[in-house]
């Protein structure tokens, strides 16, 4: 049984549901990667930061782009400067090690202490990308053919992978992961989240904002329903603009912070006109 003092329960500024905490703790205990999905703006990336803070481990971030290759995360071999050196003799080109720089995944596997590794937006990369990571994530070891060295992690890092579902992930990859879908927060949870971000907000105003926000999410067929992070921004804008509660009841100020599509704006305005009647 794992040490109960090292269980993740959220942090003061990151409210996690019990299911999410359980997911994190299972991943930590079993040394498996945790795959997190969920609507944009529900705090997938922030989770890694919170886990690092909650468990007191350093965080290593690896942001995936469409051109990222799996080997980039392990190490990059700077062949150009080696060629350069071979012609001008600045350094000893036989020592390949000095031309190798370790990437984020490589760092996580070579650190002395246990770390949290965030692999952000894994679905952005090529379809084959997750498959290329399988061996490294399984064995938590990697090999650098250029130098002939093999690095094995002394402590399996806590790997948190986020995905926006832009691509399906391969079954073999999924099999090795612990999966958690961050469902959209219920009103009570949202209430706590808002309190964490806007502690000075009067409770009645907060309730009013949240009610309006959920009402807005109910509007049928929005292309991009507003998410938690947008609600936080919106409340920030309302506070900065000094909008009183009465105004909020009658209209929706700063709608642009919540609704980002022109079509959606029209739908919301039509729905708002109906609510008034």
């Amino acid at each position: 049984m794992s040490d109960p003092f090292h269980l993740f329960t959220g942090t003061p500024d990151y409210i996690a549901s019990p299911a999410l905490c359980d997911g994190v703790n299972v991943a930590v205990a079993l040394g498996r990667p945790l795959l997190v999905k969920g609507e944009p703006g529900t705090g997938k990336t922030l989770l890694a930061h919170a886990v690092a803070r909650g468990l007191g481990m350093p965080l290593i971030r690896w942001h995936i782009k469409s051109t990222t290759k799996a080997v980039d995360g392990l190490y990059v071999y700077d062949a150009i400067s080696r060629l350069h050196d071979s012609r001008f003799g600045d350094r000893d080109v036989r020592d390949i090690g000095q031309y190798i720089s370790i990437g984020p995944l490589g760092q996580a596997l070579t650190m002395d202490e246990r770390v949290v590794l965030l692999i952000d937006e894994v679905d952005k990369a090529d379809l084959e990308f997750p498959n290329d990571l399988l061996r490294e994530l399984d064995e938590m070891a990697f090999h650098i053919p250029e130098t002939g060295q093999t690095h094995t992690a002394r402590q399996r890092p806590v790997v948190i992978i986020t995905s926006n579902d832009e691509k399906e992930l391969p079954a073999a990859f999924l099999r090795r992961c612990i999966f958690h879908f961050i469902a959209f927060p219920e009103v009570e949870l949202m209430d706590r989240i808002v309190k964490v971000h806007h502690p000075d907000l009067p409770a009645s105003l907060a309730r009013q904002c949240i009610a309006r926000f959920y009402q807005l999410r109910q509007v049928a067929s929005l292309r991009k329903p507003p998410s938690t992070s947008e609600l936080i921004d919106w409340i920030g804008a309302l506070v900065a603009g000094g909008v009183p509660e009465a105004t909020l009841r009658a209209e929706l100020p700063f709608l642009g912070t919540l609704v980002k599509h022109e079509e959606d704006l029209g739908r919301v305005q039509r729905a708002a006109a109906r609510w008034k009647n």
């Binding site: 049984m1 794992s2 019990p18 299911a19 359980d22 997911g23 703790n25 299972v26 991943a27 205990a29 079993l30 498996r32 795959l35 999905k37 469409s66 071999y77 062949a79 150009i80 080696r82 060629l83 071979s86 012609r87 080109v93 379809l127 250029e146 579902d165 832009e166 691509k167 399906e168 079954a171 999924l174 099999r175 992961c177 612990i178 999966f179 958690h180 879908f181 469902a183 109910q218 509007v219 049928a220 292309r223 729905a271 109906r274």
Partner: protein
């Protein structure tokens, strides 16, 4: 331990593997469930279920195994699934729409589940489970020997009911057809595009080899990773396509944002392709098909989008074009053949549902182009075909369909 859950999950189509099951056992051995049912519920879900779409199936499996409650018949799944994606029939009034929005989906679901359970008891062997009294905003559903039927309010004749049934079945696999899903489907085409055998210089390999060869340049080659995919998208902008315009525009925006197409050419046509296609929706900027064929390489993937429904003369007759003043001296079908002959790989995506493909011109055109439905499944099949794999296009139904050829795509 809990092997029943494993098999209950598999029975509901959740692809749990023994590896995952052993992982769960390992987690249990470590005491991660803390002898707590809720924890166990989370634990097993995190390890066994890898998609939020299967959470519901997991819940049902859980209920069956741990509460001894027999899961209701398939119809309940179907109804719930359908309720998740309510299809609003077009004839709803403003007032009814307002009612729909005001109604909480969960309450509605509970109510429906309750009613399902009650009615199953009372109408043992009966032929209707859910009332049609008009109290439910989602209309009526019934179980008949012929299958599950769920339709909008107002009932309608047999054809409408059959259509409603089709609509509902497709919904199970398609869910919401949004741009991103289309984008994901279009990316199926990339896999092939990356298999090109062209060679490029492997700079790193060359440098490595050169450095090892005492500075003497040694060139190393490797296959190129770049995508060389070019796509020609021809879209019908005719009147009968108006109901589908939203859908087609989603396909278009997904295609134009797809970063893996080296080049995307999008043109429009009216009902059928004749000697010109048009670069703009208002059909001002004409582009002769002969030019198109000369400028675009045979390897370009051709995707036609249209309902393929027109008067037979528009397709097969000279001078048959629908536009006033447009005089084509070669029949539309010959132009379609011309395109099909030029491009090695072509598909036709039809926004109409398969049962409605019995229109004679649809049949003629599907003889020339492999025709797929404009759904996620259909697009995936079409992409497979375009990338050279063997795919059987769906078989259009023979004979006329009762209730006419056009169905409003509110189901999307």
């Amino acid at each position: 331990m809990f092997l029943d859950l494993f098999y209950a999950l598999r029975a509901r189509g959740v692809p749990v593997t023994p590896t995952e099951w052993l992982t769960l056992m390992q987690a249990l051995a470590q005491g991660l469930a803390f002898s707590d049912m809720v924890r166990l519920y989370h634990l097993a879900r995190a390890i066994c279920v890898k998609s939020e779409h299967q959470y519901d199936a997991y819940d049902q499996a859980w209920l069956e195994v741990f509460r001894g409650i027999e899961a209701p018949a398939q119809v309940r799944d179907d109804v719930l699934e359908w309720l998740k994606n309510p299809v609003l029939p077009m004839e709803l009034s403003e007032r009814e729409l307002a009612m729909l929005e005001a109604m909480d989906l969960d309450t509605l679901r509970e109510e429906l589940e309750k009613r399902l359970a009650e009615q199953a008891e009372r109408h043992d062997g009966g032929n209707r489970w859910i009332g049609t009294g008009g109290t439910s905003p989602f209309g009526h559903g019934g179980l008949r020997p012929g299958g599950v039927r769920i339709g909008g309010p107002g009932g309608g004749g047999m054809a409408a009911q059959i259509a409603a049934k089709r609509r509902f079945e497709a919904y199970r696999t398609d869910r919401v057809l949004d741009t991103r899903q289309i984008g994901v489907a279009l990316r199926k085409l990339r896999r092939f595009a990356r298999e090109g055998a062209r060679l490029e210089v492997d700079i790193e390999g060359t440098i490595h080899a050169t450095a090892r060869n005492a500075g003497e340049i040694t060139v190393v080659e490797r296959p190129e990773r770049k995508s060389h995919l070019q796509v020609l998208l021809l879209m019908d902008s005719g009147g009968s396509m108006t109901p589908y315009s939203h859908l087609v525009s989603r396909l278009f925006s997904a295609a134009s944002r797809a970063s893996h197409f080296e080049r995307l050419v999008a043109c429009y046509f009216h009902n059928c392709v004749y000697e010109h296609v048009y670069r703009d929706l208002s059909r001002w900027e004409a582009w002769p098909v002969e030019d198109l064929v000369n400028t675009l390489d045979r390897g370009v993937k051709l995707i036609l989008v249209g309902d393929a429904c027109m008067a037979p003369s528009e397709l097969t007759a000279r001078w048959g074009a629908i536009d006033w003043g447009h005089q084509n001296d070669m029949a539309g079908i010959d132009w379609l053949r011309r395109l099909a002959e030029h491009f090695e790989r072509a598909v036709w995506l039809n926004p109409m549902r398969l049962p409605l493909w019995s229109h004679p011109t649809v049949q003629r055109i599907s003889d020339i182009y492999p025709m797929f439905e404009l759904t996620i499944d259909g697009i995936e099949q079409a992409m497979k075909h375009l990338s050279g794999r063997r795919v059987e296009p769906p078989e259009p139904p023979q004979g006329p369909v009762r209730g006419g050829g056009l169905r409003h795509p509110s189901a999307w």
